[in-house]
């Protein structure tokens, strides 16, 4: 029962069926060019790669030769280039403008990192080559590990997690393994603040824990009384983001660490916001037991439209023995990678992934770190925090900050300033698109009504921040002045108008299917 035969078929070529929908004959509008799917334009016998001719010798596939065609079109090189370049122009990017997605840390990605990651000695080596032939790769991993441990003041780091959520899993699995080693099968409750990233509760559950939410206090931080009341001998630990998703430093973090340890639990710190404190605060000094670090946030490896990331996870002495394989060690002047659990010194909870982690992100992150150095990284945190506070201060008159006082690296607003205007947070965000900006994070964290979370990062200049604030001021004033349609009809100037997400979910069309019975689909 294939979904696409019972659901709505893939739609015909609206873009070429232009008259009814657009005001041009081609479907394009100047530089915004209509672009069909490759399946609608590709010839099925085309190939854009120069390949030698096979000899045509008899196959040795045990009779399992494919009989049917793959059904995949090919494009020539110029057609391919044009297809992806045209599509690329329908994307916003940090290289195009300020990208204020709170919690996502969209900062400039230095091109030196791209260049160095492509050195043949890094990009063209195999993870299972003899270890003697990849000593430089191990050295790089070891060096990056040293920087991460020093910046966090922790004795151990697992490098293999592939992204932030994978790092969370790494940390929580180590906690689970430590509890199991202590014979504490009762400790299965994990405390997670309401404001946490969704990955936190999802991760806890994947480690066999149950999630118990801690409310926020009126100031946007952990409600200490509620937290204390939830402690008990069934508590495995706490997952706390610091600075938290409201953009605030958890003032009571050391007390939280002490209390959770006294109660017999562990402290997992979500390090997604490490960029706010890097070089100024070492999480190890705060009493954490595990923390993942998003190399694609704090250390500038590009987000790539949704990955790849990298989530090295640091551990305290208490959890270090349970860190997963593989890891590198240096003996005299030779590096060695420990790949098997049986060869490890501690009691690793296992292996999380094939091979050794996202080397391509390691090279980029280390290039960023060395370029900045201890002094520059500290300035990264300071500038990120200064920029966020500048935005908060400048917009306080026209928008409504969710909490009083200064913030860390991101400024959080609620939707009180839109009350009675008929404009929602979503409308406001979509209107930003018309102004040439990517919207901020909306409706997150959940503890704030109609939340708008703005993270400018350290790589914006004052001039850039001023233009952004001027624009938001203009929008806020327009909303209050009753220019509702500017918002509800937005975006008007984007490559697409507002998209029907309800229909997409109700009748899922997740792949193109041939339109045999629909003659107008032909070009």
């Amino acid at each position: 029962m294939a979904m696409n035969t019972q659901g709505r078929p893939s739609r015909p070529l609206h873009v070429y069926d232009a008259g009814a929908y657009t005001d041009t004959f081609s479907g394009s509008k100047g530089l915004d060019q209509a672009e069909p799917l490759i399946f609608e334009r590709g010839a099925f016998d085309n190939c854009g790669v120069d390949l030698e001719e096979p000899k045509g010798t008899k196959t040795r596939l045990g009779g399992l030769d494919r009989q049917d065609a793959l059904g995949l079109p090919g494009l020539s090189e110029p057609e391919t280039v044009r297809h992806y370049v045209r599509l690329s122009r329908k994307n916003y990017a940090i290289d195009l403008g300020l990208y204020p997605l709170g919690s996502c840390t969209m900062k400039h990605n230095p091109r030196l990192n791209e260049k160095l990651a492509r050195l043949p000695g890094f990009i063209d080596i195999h993870p299972l080559q003899p270890q003697s032939t990849v000593q430089g790769a191990f050295e790089l991993i070891g060096e990056l590990a040293h920087w991460l441990m020093t910046l966090t003041n922790t004795p151990c780091v697992a490098m293999s997690p592939k992204a932030g959520a994978h790092g969370e899993l790494c940390g929580m699995m180590a906690i689970r393994a430590a509890l199991d080693a202590r014979g504490e099968s009762k400790r299965r409750r994990v405390l997670v603040p309401e404001s946490a990233h969704g990955t936190n509760p999802a991760t806890a559950v994947q480690c066999g824990f149950t999630v118990d939410e801690i409310p926020a206090d009126a100031g946007g931080r952990v409600d200490m009384e509620a937290f204390k009341a939830k402690l008990g001998d069934d508590v495995a630990g706490i997952m706390l983001t610091n600075p938290n998703t409201c953009g605030l430093f958890e003032r009571d973090i050391k007390e939280i660490a002490d209390l959770i340890h006294e109660a017999g639990g562990y402290f997992y710190c979500d390090g997604a916001n490490f960029n706010a404190i890097v070089g100024r605060v070492r999480p190890g000094d705060l009493g954490i037991d595990a923390m993942h670090i998003n190399l694609h946030k704090t250390f500038s490896t590009p987000h790539g439209g949704g990955g790849p990331g990298s989530g090295p996870t640091v551990f305290s002495e208490a959890l270090a023995p349970y860190a997963p394989v593989p890891y590198v060690v240096k003996e005299n002047d030779t590096w060695r990678m420990v790949e098997q659990e049986a060869d490890a010194e501690g009691e690793p909870f296992g292996r999380m992934v094939a091979f050794h982690g996202n080397m391509g992100m390691f090279t980029r992150a280390l290039s960023y770190m060395m370029s900045h150095g201890s002094d520059g990284l500290k300035q990264v945190a300071e500038d990120a925090v200064l920029n966020a506070n500048y935005i908060q201060a400048r917009l306080t008159g026209v928008m409504t900050p969710a909490f009083e006082g200064t913030c860390m690296h991101e400024a959080l607003f609620d939707d009180r300033f839109l009350e009675g205007t008929g404009v929602s947070t979503l409308d406001f965000a979509k209107a930003m698109i018309d102004e040439g900006y990517h919207p901020m994070t909306m409706y997150f964290p959940l503890v704030v009504h109609g939340a708008m979370l703005i993270e400018p990062t350290e790589t914006e200049s004052k001039g850039s921040l001023d233009r952004f604030c001027d624009t938001l001021e203009g929008l806020a004033n327009a909303a209050k002045a009753g220019e509702t349609e500017r918002f509800t009809a937005a975006p008007r100037h984007a490559p697409a108008k507002r998209l029907d997400e309800t229909q997409a979910a109700r009748n899922p069309v997740l792949r193109w299917v041939p339109q045999e019975a629909t003659p107008q689909a032909a070009e």
């Binding site: 029962m1 739609r11 490759i38 016998d45 085309n46 390949l51 096979p54 399992l64 494919r66 009989q67 793959l70 090919g74 494009l75 391919t80 992806y84 599509l87 940090i94 997605l101 050195l119 890094f122 063209d124 080596i125 195999h126 299972l128 080559q129 032939t133 990849v134 050295e139 020093t150 592939k162 992204a163 969370e168 990233h197 999802a202 480690c207 003032r251 050391k254 404190i277 605060v281 439209g305 990955g307 997963p324 790949e339 296992g350 992934v353 094939a354 290039s367 770190m369 201890s374 500290k378 300071e382 200064l386 860390m408 975006p491 697409a496 998209l499 979910a505 997740l510 792949r511 193109w512």
Partner: protein, 435 residues
């Protein structure tokens, strides 16, 4: 700026940090370095590695050296793809969303399945997530894994499954044949996990196994580590697989010392499968003008909406590598993909014949795609090291994957379109010398 904020110094902005945790001065790391200095340091480290392009190269076992057309790297360095975030605002992310929709279509077609997601971290994590999904779909807690499944995949799956109380049962490896997994399937079994071609390179007809699984109400999860094999071989879907997962690294991605790679994940399109699928999905819809557009959809499965009830904790996946994959696939098309697969297969057949003609060398795998296993008259790890000392990267000794399991004389050898006749000569000559 400080004046606008209303503080006297930067330090005031960090006043919420407990005093004891405030650093005086800097961490103990070197100060900033110039671009030239960083480049110099990296070049020095990179030169300590023997890169695949510098040596006759035959290493596989889950990652393969293939030619990546120049167009691919150019495209993934376009700012609009490289420096964008997950496409949460579809009106200004149609580029990423349409390429993901095309990617999903290509993956589904190639695997012979109804639907595919927008990628996972890599093949091993796709495999682990598939087992979790099978457990949700069947509401059972046991996974039977072939011993010929790449051991890194098996252990990654075991790690992810064990705290969910899913029991993973692994057989002993059986080089050159398939271990008797069908016998291990019972009424408690959620899924059977089998790799094809398996880690030793041997190809298998999955149909009998699919039947054995389905007879007991279990799902068949078919795994591949060499996606190119699908160009020449029957698709896993046509052999009865319910979920197909694997590594997409061979197309567009390069070796990269193990990552970032791109996990492919495809399955049947039944509602129950769709609801239980992990990862992001791009779907088609219309905009306010009625024009076709794409969005991330069915996100009620995902952590940012569903939190502790999500199908997976995955957030960031492998978007840019999925782009590299789909650009390469678009350049190839079915004609090029099939041709490339055939070239690989022919290279491997030729090399297998040449190596197994050497005295004392025996071909263990009789049907294979572009990787095969030979038995050497001695310890394969020592042979590989001796070859490396001569500047030849001759393959992966089975003992690196199965230490202490009695496979010390087995060598996994991969051949691809990148190998030249001179490479073959070099390997043959070097092997003769060290054996």
């Amino acid at each position: 700026m400080l004046e606008t904020v209303g503080v006297a110094s930067i330090d005031d902005l960090f006043s919420d940090v407990p005093e004891a945790a405030r650093l005086d001065g800097s961490v103990d790391l070197p100060p900033k370095a110039t671009e030239i200095a960083v480049e110099r340091a990296f070049t020095r480290m990179s030169r300590r590695n023997l890169s695949a392009g510098e040596a006759p190269f035959f290493v596989g076992a889950g990652a393969y050296k293939h030619h990546v057309p120049a167009t691919v790297d150019h495209m993934i360095q376009r700012s609009e793809y490289l420096t964008s975030y997950t496409p949460y605002q579809p009106e200004i992310s149609q580029g990423t969303l349409q390429t993901l929709f095309e990617f999903q279509t290509q993956v589904a077609a190639l695997t012979g399945m109804d639907i595919a997601n927008a990628s996972m971290y890599d093949g091993s994590t796709s495999c682990a997530e598939a087992v979790l999904m099978a457990s949700r779909v069947t509401k059972r807690k046991k996974a039977v894994m072939s011993g010929n499944l790449h051991p890194h995949y098996a252990s990654s799956t075991h790690t992810l499954a064990k705290y969910m109380d899913i029991n993973t049962v692994s057989q002993d490896a059986n080089p050159g044949s398939l271990d008797d997994i069908a016998a291990a399937i019972d009424d408690e079994t959620a899924c059977v996990v089998v790799q094809n071609p398996d880690v030793f390179g041997q190809v298998h007809d999955l149909e009998p196994l699919a039947k054995a699984a389905h007879d007991k109400g279990a799902l068949l999860i078919a795994v591949f580590t060499e996606v190119l094999s699908l160009g020449l071989m029957k698709s896993p879907g046509s052999m009865g697989a319910d979920i197909v997962v694997g590594e997409g690294q061979s197309l567009g991605v390069g070796l990269q010392f193990g990552g970032p790679y791109v996990g492919l994940f495809a399955c049947r399109g039944d509602r129950n499968f769709l609801r239980n699928m992990p990862g992001r999905l791009a779907g088609e819809t219309v905009d306010a003008d009625g024009r076709r557009g794409f969005v991330l959809t069915l996100s009620t499965r995902e952590q940012h909406i569903r939190r502790d009830k999500a199908t997976s904790n995955i957030c960031t996946n492998s978007g840019l590598m999925a782009l590299a994959w789909t650009v390469h696939m678009t350049l190839l098309g079915q004609a090029g993909f099939t041709k490339l697969a055939r070239i690989n297969h022919e290279r491997a057949c030729e090399l297998a014949d040449r190596l197994s003609a050497l005295p004392g060398v025996e071909l263990v795998t009789d049907a294979f795609f572009n990787e095969f296993t030979i038995r050497l008259p001695g310890d394969a790890a020592k042979v590989v090291q001796a070859l490396a000392d001569k500047g030849v990267l001759g393959g992966v000794p089975a003992s690196r994957l199965y230490p202490g399991k009695g496979h010390d004389d087995l060598l996994l050898v991969a051949a691809t379109e990148t190998n030249t006749p001179e490479d073959f000569d070099a390997l043959e000559a070097a092997l003769k010398e060290v054996l």
